[in-house]
Symmetry: C2
Subunit: 140 residues, 2 copies
C-alpha cells in the first residue's frame, strides 16, 4: 500500500482544524511537507468520495463536505484505496492441481474477512476524534 491514506487523514484533520476556513493546496502542502499538485490530486479523490469540496478561484480552497464526526477512517480508506487490495492473491495457479485449482477461492474468503475486520476497526475512529486527540496533545 501507499501513504495516500495517511496523507488523506492528515489533510482532513487539517481541514477540520480550520473550522470552515478554506485551505489552499499550497498551505496544506506546507503542513504535509509535499507538493501542492499532489495535494490537489488527493483532494479531488476525496471530493469524488463526498468527503471534501473545493472552492475555485481567488480566496478559494478546500473544505470538509460534512461534519468531522461523520467522516470515519474506513470511509477515507475506501476513498483512497479504491480497488487496491490489502492482501492480493497470486494469479494463474495450475488448474490441473487440486490445490492450485481451489486455493484462490478458498483463500479469498479469508482475506475478505480480514479486510472487513480491518475496515471495521478503522470505522471506530472519526476525523473529529483525531482533531480532539491532537488538541489534547498540543495543550501540554
Amino acid at each position: 500500500m501507499n501513504t495516500r491514506f495517511a496523507v488523506a487523514v492528515h489533510v482532513l484533520t487539517l481541514l477540520q482544524s480550520q473550522r470552515g476556513e478554506p485551505a489552499t493546496s499550497e498551505w496544506i502542502a506546507g503542513s504535509v511537507n509535499t507538493n501542492p499538485a499532489l495535494i490537489r490530486r488527493l483532494l479531488s479523490q476525496l471530493a469524488r468520495a463526498g468527503l471534501t469540496q473545493s472552492r475555485m478561484g481567488a480566496g478559494g480552497g478546500a473544505l470538509l463536505a460534512k461534519p468531522a464526526q461523520d467522516i470515519d477512517l474506513a470511509q477515507v480508506y475506501r476513498a483512497v484505496a479504491e480497488d487496491a487490495e490489502v492482501i492480493p492473491i497470486h494469479a494463474s495457479p495450475n488448474p490441473r492441481c487440486p490445490v492450485g485449482r481451489n486455493i484462490q477461492a478458498v483463500l479469498e474468503r479469508r482475506i475478505d474477512a480480514a479486510q472487513r475486520a480491518l475496515e471495521a476497526e478503522l470505522a471506530r475512529t472519526t476525523i473529529a476524534d483525531l482533531d480532539k486527540d491532537i488538541a489534547r496533545r498540543a495543550r501540554r
Copy 2:
C-alpha cells in the same frame, strides 16, 4: 503489498496435502505456476519462521515443520510480511504545524489497532482448515 502471502499459503497447503512426502521446489512451482528459485526463496523465509523445513540433496524437498492445525494464517502473514506495514504513514510532516507535529503518533495508534484486527481475523484460520476446504471442494 505483494502476493507472497498468498503464495506462501498455497505452498503450505500443498505441503499439507502431501502428508509427509517431501515436495521439490520444481513440483511446487508447477502448482503455483512460477519459478523454482522463487519458491526456494520463499521457503527459506518460511523455514526461518519455523513453519517449514527442507531436506537437501536427492530425494529431498520441503516439509511442514509442525502440524497443519498449528499453523494459522497470521503466523504466515508475519513470516512473509516481515516488517512491511499494511498501512504506512507518510514521513516528515511539518513540525511547526500542530497537526503536522502530532498526526503521526495519533494515527499510528489507530493503524496499529486495525492491523491487530486484521491479524486476529487471519489467526482464526489454519492450514488444516484450508486443506479441508479444498478437499471438500474437490470432492464435488
